[in-house]
């Protein structure tokens, strides 16, 4: 393709809007064309500058508190007479207690099963001859690739200045639910990041925080309705560092 034809797609490329094969062809062109490479660099840098400069305004604490109060009271409230409450409250307490006990009993087994499934997915991907469906170190390529493939969207962190590198990603499944499986590298160790929708109430009972099992370290948390899992054979400090970057981006 002639250079001019590529130039028309420069914005699409830096915005991660080109299809994977075309983006790969574009990257190959950039390695041979100094003009396009310089132009791309300028555009990427401008994009980054705007992204940083645009995060300018924070809501005032009083406004946040006011909105939280408003939205809290905005929920419809049932008018209940005192005797109805007298019966309903203890009944509800009994129901909640029995559900909690059941959940507590099944949580350990469930937690163990989820951890094993995630470490299996991590190891299976590393053992695969073609581990990724999208191979790119650029988050602006990887994130848009998931459009239409998983029923949610997420943000990936800027890795400049950190030791982590993004290697690629694929779609994965846990409990028949599609999710994103991303792989990062640090000092030749691969770390898997799984992102799923946190719509399952049972998933919420899965304890968050660091876990150590079978020499793998794992961290998990929920953010904006998504559940994140970070799994790898690196130390807990590296897992936490990557988790922090992801939390910052999410």
């Amino acid at each position: 393709m002639a250079c001019d034809a590529w130039r028309e797609k420069l914005d699409l490329y830096v915005d991660g809007e080109l299809a994977v094969p075309e983006a790969a062809a574009f990257s190959a062109h950039l390695r041979t064309c100094a003009d396009c490479a310089a132009d791309t660099l300028a555009r990427v840098q401008l994009k980054r500058s705007v992204s940083l400069a645009g995060k300018r305004y924070q809501p005032r604490a009083e406004f946040r508190a006011r909105m939280e109060r408003k939205l809290g009271t905005a929920k419809p409230q049932r008018s209940a007479t005192w005797w109805w409450r007298l019966i309903a409250v203890p009944a509800l307490a009994v129901v909640v207690l029995s559900v909690a006990v059941n959940l507590w009993q099944s949580e350990k087994a469930r937690r163990q099963r989820t951890l094993s499934e995630l470490t299996d997915l991590h190891v299976a991907l590393l053992a695969s001859a073609a581990p990724f469906d999208v191979v790119s170190t650029d988050r602006h390529t990887v994130k848009p690739w998931f459009q239409g493939k998983v029923p949610f969207t997420f943000n990936l962190p800027e890795l400049q200045g950190s030791e982590f590198t993004l290697l690629g990603a694929r779609v994965t499944y846990l409990d028949q639910t599609p999710g994103a499986h991303l792989v990062y590298q640090i000092r030749k160790h691969e770390i898997s990041v799984f992102i799923f929708q946190d719509r399952d109430a049972r998933a919420a009972s899965l304890s968050a925080g660091p876990v150590h099992t079978l020499s793998f370290n794992m961290n998990s948390w929920t953010q904006h309705g998504l559940r994140y899992f970070v799994v790898g054979d690196v130390g807990p400090a590296d897992i936490e560092a990557l988790s922090k970057l992801l939390r910052g981006a999410g």
């Binding site: 914005d11 705007v50 809501p59 969207t153």
Partner: protein, 164 residues
């Protein structure tokens, strides 16, 4: 409160005023709660709530004063071929404050599309939904917005250089 910080940032950029931004965010949540039944599950929630915020802004006092852009005008083809000079590299690395004041100077329709694409990292599809415009318009308007921003920064840069 989903997307509270992001919506506030966007509202403040649109209105350029703290109290107007707060009113706008409050109105957005109120409308979103009232109209939640009209939100179709499986469609993009983020684009939907940004569209509510933007429509509320356009019908507000400040919003009514902003220039209306006609899509016909917007559909003009924009040349993407701009030669990068070392100067534009310097512009691209301009300080955060310089970029912020240039963004504030841009017309609202350029400012909002840059914020959605660069800050919120929305795809063209999502941006099109949030702004209720076709994808082709997103592409041309974004290109023009970037060009306008580059020119503003270039002016600042040239002014600064002369001043030295």
């Amino acid at each position: 409160m989903p997307l509270f910080d992001q919506l506030y940032n966007f509202a403040h950029w649109l209105t350029q005023d703290t109290s107007e931004a707060e009113d706008l965010v409050q109105e957005t949540y109120a409308k979103a709660l009232r109209g939640f039944s009209s939100f179709q599950a499986g469609t993009n929630f983020r684009a939907w709530i940004y569209r509510i915020l933007r429509n509320s802004f356009l019908s507000s006092r400040t919003g009514l004063k902003t220039t209306v852009v006609f899509d016909e005008e917007d559909q003009e083809t924009v040349s993407a071929t701009e030669v990068s000079t070392p100067e534009s590299l310097v512009i691209a690395q301009s300080s955060r404050e310089l970029v912020q004041s240039a963004l504030a100077e841009l017309p609202v329709h350029f400012r909002e599309i840059l914020l959605l694409c660069e800050v919120e990292e929305m795809s063209y599809q999502e941006t099109a939904q949030a702004l209720s415009i076709p994808i082709g318009t997103v592409m041309s308007r974004l290109s023009r917005a970037r060009k306008a921003l580059r020119e503003l920064l270039q002016q600042t840069f040239a002014g600064g250089a002369h001043g030295v």
